[in-house]
Symmetry: C2
Subunit: 500 residues, 2 copies
């Protein structure tokens, strides 16, 4: 027995498994955030960690608003090592190549557990190589927020890199030399961690807007640098699309134009990849032409969405995380560019989350399979390259969920019989757009087919897509030790990553 169907009932280092299925799975109520503290100033990171009461085996959380420019997580954990702490559980919202310095700390046993929503680079490779003592737990952005808010993920110490801190101890990401936009992920951690350490490279500024109030902060530490904010736009957020990506983007914009754009209160999210950016740029003139004023664009915010909002095409931006400097600037100056927490954005326990009110979303894929399951966690040959992030959250919540992907990667077909790893279930996907055309996954959007044809957009049934471009080879499932456990947004286990 191999493959996804064969989930164990208990995973060593993880615990009992509740397998995901397609039925509704209600979550318990978020706890109210902790408050009522007065932040004190501490001279060094080392002293702050000592003051925090962190012990061996404790849980430290981090956020990734500086993305591949973050310097705080490695610095903090090196300091933990100096204090002699071991066996730590880290719960960063994401892990990037800049976190390579974690690898020796994993090897030394300083870090033995990781819970995160996205993992890419040397740390991912170290996990794949079996260096972590326990399986990585991969959550979604919304799933992480819900788990923190309802107490399934308990944080002893939340580390908050704060580009701006005022005299009272309020925190922001809007200004400072490490300005990174709204501190959407950290907002949740600050509300529920037993202890909150804010780390600042430019304390005592006056703040144009506040992300986290002082009453949720225990200590404030000054450091020389939080990292390199110029690297916020990096990795998937920096690539320009090729001609194939441009073609896919044009078809995607057309699909949106004949579906969600026709509905009142249009709202939109797109990622930071090249094709996503190109979709936004092609959608803008279609909106302008029709005089559509969308209600909001949300998610990770990029320059094209800022441009669209400034051109009056969206009333508001709802931003959990800035993806580039244009978004950072806009958040600092434009009051209709709203910061939201990861819980506001996508908590599966909250019916008022933005993801649940979203019209159209454009997402990517490393692999797509016959059941329209999407893999954004691994490559076809098993390298760990990410995780859901917000993928399954918005895929589930949006009315029209579009996945764009080229038919092939450098190494082979991306349309496969079974995805190696199921990040997002196929039932969440409404359309797949490749350079071959638009595939609608069910009858829900049949009515768009004629308009697409009129616009010269090729239309493929799922069967045609898989027959013509798919790899029908049965998957050789790895059977080794479980290296990572993927939780669906509701905390149930949707897949695992095994060693070969």
């Amino acid at each position: 027995m191999t493959g996804r169907a064969n989930l164990p009932v208990f995973i060593e280092g993880y615990g009992p498994v509740t397998p995901w299925d397609s039925a509704a799975f209600p979550l318990t109520k978020p706890r109210a955030p902790r408050a009522g503290r007065t932040p004190r100033r501490t001279k060094t990171l080392l002293a702050a960690l000592e003051n925090s009461g962190l012990q061996n085996g404790g849980t430290l959380s981090f956020h990734h608003h500086l993305r591949d420019g973050d310097g705080l997580m490695v610095e903090t954990l090196k300091t933990c090592a100096r204090i002699g702490l071991r066996d730590l559980h880290i719960a960063p919202s994401s892990i990037f190549p800049c976190h390579a310095g974690l690898v020796p700390l994993i090897e030394q046993g300083v870090v033995t557990r990781i819970t995160t929503s996205y993992i890419n680079g040397p740390v991912a490779d170290a996990v794949r190589a079996g260096k972590l003592a326990t399986p990585v737990v991969l959550q979604t952005h919304g799933g992480r927020a819900a788990a923190i808010e309802d107490g399934r993920l308990l944080i002893n110490v939340a580390m908050i890199g704060a580009p701006g801190v005022d005299a009272e101890g309020n925190l922001t990401g809007a200004v400072g030399r490490s300005a990174c936009g709204p501190l959407g992920y950290a907002m949740v951690d600050a509300g529920h961690a037993a202890h909150v350490i804010a780390v600042a490279d430019m304390p005592d500024q006056s703040l144009p807007r506040i992300c986290i109030p002082a009453k949720r902060v225990d200590q404030i530490v000054k450091v020389d640098s939080l990292g390199d904010a110029s690297k916020i736009a990096s990795g998937t957020t920096a690539r320009a699309p090729g001609p194939e990506g441009e073609k896919i983007a044009a078809m995607t914009a057309r699909l949106i134009a004949v579906t969600e754009l026709r509905k009142p209160g249009f709202s939109f999210q797109t990622g930071a990849g090249g094709t996503s950016i190109a979709v936004a740029k092609k959608l803008a003139p279609l909106m302008a032409e029709r005089g559509v004023v969308g209600d909001f664009a949300c998610g990770g915010i990029t320059a094209p969405l800022v441009d669209m909002q400034q051109a009056g095409l969206f009333r508001e931006l709802r931003d959990v995380q800035a993806f580039d400097q244009a978004a950072v600037q806009s958040y600092a100056t434009d009051m209709s560019h709203l910061g939201i927490s990861a819980s506001d954005y996508a908590s599966p326990a909250r019916s008022d989350a933005i993801a649940h009110r979203l019209g159209a979303v454009v997402l990517g894929a490393a692999e797509v399979d016959r059941e329209m399951n999407i893999n954004v966690t691994t490559t076809s040959d098993g390298r760990i390259i990410g995780g859901s992030g917000g993928h399954s959250d918005v895929a589930s919540g949006a009315h029209l969920t579009i996945v764009t992907t080229s038919l092939r990667s450098k190494t082979g077909p991306k349309i496969v019989r079974d995805v190696l790893h199921r990040t997002t279930p196929g039932a969440s996907i409404d359309a797949v757009v490749t350079e071959a055309g638009v595939t609608l996954t069910g009858q829900k959007w049949s009515h768009a087919a004629q308009d697409l044809e009129d616009a010269g957009v090729p239309f493929l049934s799922p069967h045609q897509l898989f027959d013509r471009y798919g790899d029908s080879q049965p998957r050789a499932w790895p059977e080794g030790r479980i290296l990572a456990v993927s939780e669906y947004r509701d905390g149930r286990v949707i897949d695992v990553i095994r060693a070969n």
Copy 2:
């Protein structure tokens, strides 16, 4: 072999069968409407029918805006019989108890084929008794419009009961003693029939608004009466809900409040049944409280929706058919009460149809099964009581499709193992609300569960609903001759009705 799986490939009197499945099924493009005619006045219905060129075997269409008060269809077909016409195919948008006079015409062979979207009363009973020579074809409202517009349903003569006709020959349903609101179904027929006969009981009025322009009308005939407009609000549109219905309505309004009402551009449709009306009444204060101004309410329009629009809770009404006199009055006087055609409303071939932009819809059910398939066509014991009407159209198009039903009818459980007749496929249904609580059919709306619990609304999984309240008896499928063929909105066959 019995049951739904066993559709024949060919049905005598119907033709080859394309079975429905869940894949997308693109339809061909609507033809442009015919125009360029100048209506002439004809003295009698008999003369008009003779002038029309109608022959034996021809197709006559009718519309049901007077609902159970319609006098035109029976009068027209009696006149056809007097001329000696036989073997006619009638394509009324619906058939009501008032059409009992059709039964002798069916028995005499004047009418041998029926294509309609809803059939109830003596004609339905006659079909069940095997009196019609060929199977009735049951379409959806949107499916009928698409079939007329793309040429699958060819109409020789469209009969249009026109409460208002002006000197030029323009038609309206807004005014006159038979005023019935917008002529949404007839608009489609008038655009595509080979010949159009408008029948008026008050010609040469001045019209506040036009439903069908004179250029689409060939003849205008004056008659004494089109029927009894006081019976528009009849049948399902007239019943008051009992305490159980009130309870179901309250839970349904709460479900909408924590889901679609939170999205920008709220839009809403509800039927004319007692529970539906009660939902609208309970939703109104929730909208007012939150300051929600919805974009539109649509569908068959009822007094509570008119009240909500007049109270500023919706910007517009988009009305294919008035369900009561309040709606008729409002259409005559309020310019934000817009008339739409059945094609504008729900054509599966049109991505801009209102049904495809709809937020929340509340629908009814005669039976619900394990796969959430809905039967609104027959009773559990096989009596024909309706058909889809717009049920599957809006169920497919709306973002949140709610079915409300009591757990039991007078004769037995309504929650069954397999619906006797599948009108609307389970994949279109998001929630079922019964007096036992709210059942969400998949994970899409999981996030609402906590808010429902907070509001004291019981929450049942599909398994709980069926285990506690369902009838697990296997169905004894009738195996006799096929009496009716149900087409899904795209024209594929989704089920048949067989004689016992």
